[in-house]
């Protein structure tokens, strides 16, 4: 009897273990929502919250200051004069993607934030983070480095130096949405390209579907500026979700429209080309 009860208990315990792993709920995923609003992959439009955390000392006696640095007009921000950055041994730059993205500079006595200029390397890193369900944490960290110093008598000496380095880490769960690389080529070059999700085209902007040239005026273009691609390359390479987009080309008033349906199943659809009349 005891063996039977123990065996049953074992089976139940095994099952409950499997169940327990599954019942962990995912956090409220604001990155997913942010990604939905981002057709052009320009991270400038994504950040909602930004703050810097300064750390001094370790353990219970350590001090921590968090500064909200949400900018008023997306312009340069200078940190408060009362804050002596050099007194803090660790500075973390945290950005919540949804609105804007900034970069922290530490140069001489001046500390400031400026518009984030994504380099090609960072772009691929951010893209990778994005596929993981990105949240980006920029962190200044003291790293121990080995250096070889030559003495006067020609012998070499190894020294260990603490160097401050900026590292980028990610957080958040993987998003459910697809991220598909698309290519949009157009002739002649130099046109403004707007990539608007079809649902927003119809429901938010109340525009005709299929698109009608007559409806598009300067006011409509201003409203659509959120979806304007901030790139001049041709063909244009963008990362999109698996949904229908209306691609609007505008070259000095000459308009052209195309539907773009990025798909993981039908990859040939991820490349489109347009000729402006």
């Amino acid at each position: 009897m005891l063996t039977k009860i123990l065996l049953i208990f074992f089976v139940f315990a095994t099952c409950l273990k499997g169940l327990g792993q599954t019942l962990v709920l995912a956090p409220e995923d604001s990155v997913q929502i942010a990604l939905m609003k981002l057709p052009d992959s320009s991270f400038h439009k994504l950040v909602e919250k930004m703050y810097l955390q300064f750390f001094r000392g370790k353990g219970p006696g350590g001090q921590q200051i968090t500064i909200d640095i949400m900018p008023p007009n997306n312009k340069l921000i200078v940190l408060p004069e009362t804050l002596k950055v050099e007194n803090y041994n660790n500075i973390i730059f945290i950005v919540d993607f949804k609105g804007f993205l900034y970069e922290y500079f530490h140069s001489g006595n001046e500390e400031m934030l400026s518009d984030f200029n994504i380099s090609e390397n960072e772009k691929s890193l951010l893209q990778w983070l994005k596929t993981l369900g990105m949240g980006t944490v920029k962190k200044s960290q003291m790293v121990r480095e080995q250096r070889t110093i030559k003495n006067g008598d020609g012998t070499e000496q190894i020294q260990y130096v603490e160097v401050e380095k900026e590292v980028t880490a990610n957080y958040y769960d993987a998003p459910a949405y697809s991220i598909i690389s698309c290519s949009v080529s157009y002739e002649p070059s130099g046109a403004d390209v707007y990539v608007v999700p079809r649902r927003e085209w119809i429901e938010t902007f109340k525009l005709a579907d299929p698109p009608d040239e007559k409806e598009i005026n300067i006011n409509v273009l201003r409203k659509l500026s959120y979806f304007k691609i901030n790139k001049v390359e041709n063909p244009l390479r963008i990362e999109l979700n698996e949904k229908t987009y209306v691609v609007l080309f505008n070259l000095g008033g000459k308009l052209s429209f195309k539907y773009l349906l990025p798909s993981t199943a039908f990859k040939e659809r991820n490349i489109i080309s347009a000729k402006l009349k």
Partner: protein, 183 residues
């Protein structure tokens, strides 16, 4: 040798393992791990109850057991059909996107226009439908998932119960025959 005893044990264990490995006709987006665990727990519970009461089966009425076996077998078939219907009602595909998507059993909270979810999916795509369901249809999606989960579990619970009752019936019959021999 009572083969039904081993069969009921196998029926209680094997479907859960297949779900874990292959998904076994689960709607898209459903967790095989969660469902496999629930199926295993429920089926093992049925077998465990029978196992612990194995010695007292001699007192069971054979006619009642026969009726129960038939009823549970019927319940298994009904659950299976219900599940197939649920699967077709809660799963949609689109030739434009080529992906199976799970939808709730009913529309509420937001008018999504003519053609319902199918038209919405065809027109706007995979991620728009996912976004819609995750934001505007959380309640219906959750209730639909619970219904589908329960229905799916019941299929295997009734199947296990059928074999468990057959095992108990066999045991009861043997005990009665032994009793008659002794007398």
């Amino acid at each position: 040798m009572n083969y039904f005893k081993w069969l009921s044990g196998l029926v209680a264990l094997i479907p859960g393992l297949i779900i874990l490995q292959k998904g076994l006709a689960l709607p898209p987006g459903f967790s095989p791990l969660l469902l496999a665990a629930l199926v295993e727990i429920s089926c093992c519970f049925v077998v465990a109850i029978a196992w612990l009461n194995e010695k007292s089966v001699g007192r069971l009425n054979l006619t009642k057991l026969n009726r129960s076996v038939l009823l549970t077998a019927l319940a298994f078939i009904v659950c299976l059909f219900c599940y197939l219907i649920l699967l077709s009602l809660t799963t949609i595909n689109s030739p434009s996107w080529g992906k199976l998507m799970s939808i709730p059993l009913w529309e509420s909270g937001m008018i999504i226009g003519e053609g319902g979810f199918q038209n919405y999916y065809n027109k706007y795509g995979v991620d728009e439908l996912t976004y819609l369901l995750q934001t505007k249809y959380k309640g219906p999606v959750l209730i639909t998932e619970v219904i589908v989960y329960i229905n799916f579990i019941l299929i295997f619970v009734f199947l296990t119960l059928t074999f468990t009752l057959l095992w108990l019936r066999h045991e009861a019959k043997e005990k009665k025959q032994n009793l008659v021999k002794k007398v």
